[in-house]
Amino acid sequence: MRPLTLTLSPGSGGEGILYGVHVSPDLHIKLNGEELQLHPSGALWWAAERTLVFADLHFEKGSSFARGGQLLPPYDTRSTLARIAALARHYAPERIIALGDSFHDRDAANRLDDNERAALRELGDRAEWIWIEGNHDPHPPTWLGGLITSEIAIGGLIFRHLPSPQPAPGEIAGHLHPCAKVTRRGRSIRARCFASDGNRMVLPAFGAYTGGLDVRERPLRALFADKFLAYVLGTKRVYAVAA
């Protein structure tokens, strides 16, 4: 077992692999006038606001399944936390937004162990956290600190968990766990992706055990009036692909 070591102090920064996250140049896109960077880990970096955004962390999804008799490896929370910590160290954000469903169920926060709580507190000390309420976690725990809200507008953007059924310029949402299948020459690859038409965006799920919904399925297609792109997560970079 690998020990849980989440150090946020500056170390060997720059390019390279940190806790499985490739820290390298991101894909820059414009959304409702704001410039955003899409990171291959599935995180969104808004440099102008020094804001880092994650969707659908689903902490303790493993133990949630364990309660039902499927004893999945109990390492999903620390795996997710380690990747958040690596990105926080890389970008040094002032604000971190978790776009809802941060906890897999209402009891999930109670199942965190001391190490994981400490890691979360340490992250809380590093930046101002905004916990958006999700359908899995309508009431995120208050001991986490930070702001708990159903949605928040900053600059030209509005952050919420469920994408609005109406056209929503500047909306950054989660919930749908988009993923894309790309087929070429009789081979195919399936990976998580950002989905955006340049007007609004759905983030991929960031949690270690979170599955995906194909971008061509109705719930995702319905959000975009016209053509939209899938920004597919590769191991080292993000690829823009027609959805």
Partner: protein, 825 residues
């Protein structure tokens, strides 16, 4: 048939009279088996089809049951018969009713399968029949019941049918573990194993008896009279033999002629795609409208049953089938077996040929139809082996830890267990003879709380250790979940194939044609065409749990294979093919085009000796090729290809891709690979770090992990309230693998996966042996152009896709296509 009065005297009068009335004489092996069984000994009967093998297996039980008056018997199960096929269990029960009725024996015979109604299952528990016929899965489920001992403690005999087909599989491991528990319940019972001819009966003899803590035990052995040697004809045209492909279209008129000349023919092929295509090709030339049917695993069960029923009634002239009909019910009318394509192994060929044999003293009629030049060599080698009575045997496998985990939970569902006692019991099963106590304890820990170094799941434990030291299930729900998920056959996740009208939006409804493996459908792009259930279909897309298709007029499907050959060329047959290739004296018996092909190869390049590995390099078009000929089967070659391309990449030779078939591996690159140090390139050490690095991201390996996770109970196929769809399981098992590998690489389930991959989808064990064999024996030939031997491999590059693995290059290409689209004026 010779008269054997003394032998008949060994039978009680009622049985002797019955044999006489039918004009039969008991066969020597039937009597020998009877003698062993009377002494209470377990015994293996090896005999070809048509030798009265099944009756031999039941004679001791029938006689014993008749000799003991009903009222003196316990109202208890006397004989348990276990067959790998549900249909076979039902058929054998029916056949057994005949002698029982004709002799007026007071014996109750029943079957128990997944189709048995609940009421009858309940009754079987408190009022068991004398003889119960069932499958390994049902046996395992029965043992997990709370009062299993009451049902089994009087069992006198277990009959294991088709043991050769069960032994080296996970079902065979599950069955071995079940038998170890039966031995605890009924220590005096004897076992009778029935097997087709095998190269080495000893592993089967060991399987049949409980293994002692030290040393080995084996059952008695009775070998039945050998049947007449089969007539095997290899059809290969003197004028035309295809270079590549697996369809043998050129030989269809010959096949049609053979069908016309027989009463009923079984036409065996190796893949479902082949079955579909050959079925179509035969119907295109079926001018007499002969009743030719199709049978393979993707067809709807009702359709398969219809074909089987028509076969039983003698209504069919031919059935094109896959391995689904390798085993099973005896169809009296079958008088010819036609095998299209590679036989793969001598034992498999004997098994298939045996399907046409019902009289021991008459030769079975078989025709082999090679579809390409290498297959001509393989067919000839297989025929020689069968006629020489030589067979290939797989070395016995070590029992899987995933199967053990399932068994441990099943035992806990039955009754609290003592770990020491269960460990001793499990070790009596021959596949688990070498199981260490430490591994066993880790498996128990895995079943109880997941077996993680991080102890987080004590409160969700499935098993708890009580104050008396015994392990018991923590909640009755655990037993319900176990029963819902028991079994070791993991179905690939399937999608429905829905046919929709042209021009309608994808996903807008349609008629269900059947179902296919998701992983095959995931490889398709909209517009690809493939054959299914006799139709050429155009793939439109996947929505939710269905793949949508439309009909197309295009007569040629583009995508050639799904679920390409399950069984690799056997090691034994591969050696014979290498020997035939290396010996020009044997080329004379080959068709002229094949002989000429080899002679030009000898002149232009090299014919390797049986223990050498030939590596050729040459340029062609703008690319450089490396082709090698290990003859170790597609799976091992695919693994080799993955590992070699990694190494070539490190050598900066810019490999672009590779293609593997049963005989050869071809790699193409931007730079000339001829200068590479081949001894170093092919060194065994590739099975160290390179293998490890590849496994971390291999889709095939993740599929192996998923199977182990399901069998071991980590992932449940079915919940108590809902049926989980395969799609969800596939996706999340990959993520679970990633996290487990990162945080606990020596977890017991990863070890189970690695051991499984040694023999399964990656065939690492075989590759490792091959690399050892050719060490220091690599012959390299740098050519200025393609060699004759390399042509088939190169032709397949154009036709066959490499299964399973896709790289991120695909994403880059898709992005470039998008940019190109955007920049077009």
């Amino acid at each position: 048939m010779r008269n054997n009065g003394a032998a008949a005297a060994a039978l009680p009068p009622r049985f002797a009279d019955w044999f006489a009335a039918r004009g039969w004489t008991p066969r020597a092996h039937q009597l020998a088996l009877l003698e062993h069984a009377r002494d209470g000994e377990s015994v293996l009967l090896v005999a070809p089809t048509g030798g009265g093998k099944t009756l031999a297996g039941f004679l001791p039980s029938l006689i014993e049951l008749t000799e003991t008056p009903k009222r003196a018997r316990a109202r208890a199960l006397h004989t348990l018969y276990i067959s790998p096929l549900k249909a076979l269990a039902v058929d054998v029960a029916r056949n057994l009713e005949m002698p029982v009725a004709e002799m007026g024996l007071d014996v109750r015979i029943e079957t128990r399968t997944g189709d048995t109604p609940v009421s009858r299952r309940q009754r079987q528990k408190y009022s068991p029949p004398d003889i119960l016929l069932t499958t390994p899965e049902q046996f395992s489920l029965l043992l997990s019941h709370r009062d299993a001992n009451r049902m089994f403690e009087w069992v006198k005999t277990v009959v294991l049918d088709e043991l050769h087909a069960t032994i080296n599989t996970k079902r065979g491991e599950l069955l071995a573990l079940g038998l170890s528990r039966l031995h605890t319940f009924a220590p005096a019972h004897r076992r009778i194993g029935l097997s087709a001819t095998v190269a080495d009966p000893v592993p089967l003899q060991r399987y049949l008896v409980p293994q002692p803590p030290i040393g080995e035990a084996k059952s008695a052995l009775v070998i039945g009279q050998a049947g007449a040697k089969p007539d095997i004809e290899v059809i290969a045209s003197e004028s035309y033999v295809p270079w590549a492909g697996h369809m043998a279209y050129h030989a269809m008129p010959d096949v049609m002629g053979a069908i016309r000349a027989s009463t009923t023919a079984l036409i065996f092929v190796n893949t479902r795609a082949q079955a579909e295509r050959i079925f179509q090709a035969l119907w295109r030339i079926n001018e007499d409208n002969l009743a030719i049917a199709l049978h393979h695993g993707s067809l709807a069960p009702e359709q398969r049953r219809k074909v089987e029923a028509a076969m039983t009634r003698g209504k069919l002239r031919a059935v094109v089938c896959t391995s689904t009909l390798d085993l099973g019910i005896d169809w009296g009318a079958v008088d010819k077996v036609i095998c299209i394509g590679a036989p793969k192994g001598a034992a498999r060929l004997v098994q298939r040929i045996g399907r046409a044999n019902h009289r021991l003293d008459e030769p079975s009629q078989a025709i082999l139809v090679p579809a390409n030049r290498f297959e001509v060599l393989e067919c000839e080698a297989a025929r020689d082996a069968v006629l020489a009575g030589e067979l290939d045997g797989d070395p016995p496998r070590r029992g899987g830890l995933d199967v053990l985990a399932q068994h441990v939970l099943g035992m806990a569902c039955s009754a609290p267990f003592d770990a020491d006692a269960l460990y001793r019991e499990v070790k009596t099963a021959s596949p688990y003879r070498a199981l260490t106590r430490d591994t066993f304890d880790r498996v128990v820990d895995f079943v109880a709380t997941g077996g993680y170094a991080l102890k987080r799941y004590d409160r969700y434990a499935k098993l708890r250790r009580m104050s008396d030291g015994k392990w018991r299930i923590s909640h009755p729900r655990i037993a319900q979940q176990y029963r819902l998920n028991a079994g070791v056959i993991v179905e690939e996740p399937m999608l429905d194939i829905k046919l929709q009208g042209k021009g309608r939006p994808v996903g807008a409804g349609g008629r269900v044609l059947g179902h296919m493996e998701e992983y095959f459908l995931e490889q398709l792009a909209p517009g690809d065409t493939f054959v299914f259930s006799g139709n050429v279909l155009r793939f439109e897309g996947i929505r939710e749990n269905a793949a949508y298709v439309t009909r197309t007029q295009d007569p040629e499907a583009e995508v050639p294979s799904y679920n390409g050959g399950k069984f690799p060329l056997s090691t034994f047959l591969a050696r014979r093919v290498r020997e035939m290739l290396a010996n020009p004296k044997m080329w004379g018996s080959l068709p002229e085009p094949v002989g000429e092909w080899l002679r030009i190869q000898e002149w232009r390049s090299i014919i390797p000796s049986p223990n050498q590995l030939l590596v050729e390099t040459f340029p062609r078009g703008s690319k450089h090729y490396l082709v090698c000929y290990p003859f170790e089967g597609r799976l091992a070659h695919q693994t080799l290809g993955m590992l070699l391309t990694r190494r070539l990449e490190r050598l900066r030779l810019r490999p672009l891709g590779f293609s593997a078939n049963e005989y050869a591996l071809a790699i193409w690159a931007l730079r000339d690979m001829g200068g590479a140090d081949m001894d170093k390139l092919f060194d065994e050490d590739m099975l160290g770090d390179d293998l490890d690095a590849w496994l971390a991201e291999s889709a095939l390996y993740k599929r192996t992990f998923r199977n182990c996770a399901i069998i071991s109970g980590l992932i449940q196929r079915r919940g108590l309230n809902e049926e989980k769809t395969g799609r969800q399981v596939t996706f999340s098992s990959g993520l679970i693998y990633d996290v487990l590998r990162e945080h606990e690489p020596d977890h017991i389930l990863l070890r189970a996966t690695y051991e499984d991959a040694g023999h399964g989808l990656l065939d690492i064990a075989r590759l490792s042996e091959a690399l050892r064999r050719v060490k220091g024996r690599i012959v390299v030939k740098a050519l200025d152009r393609v060699s004759p031997l390399a042509v088939p491999a190169l032709l397949e590059i154009a036709k066959e896709m490499v299964a399973g693995e896709a790289h991120e290059d695909i994403l880059r290409e898709a992005e470039e296509a998008l940019i190109a689209d955007a920049m077009r004026r």
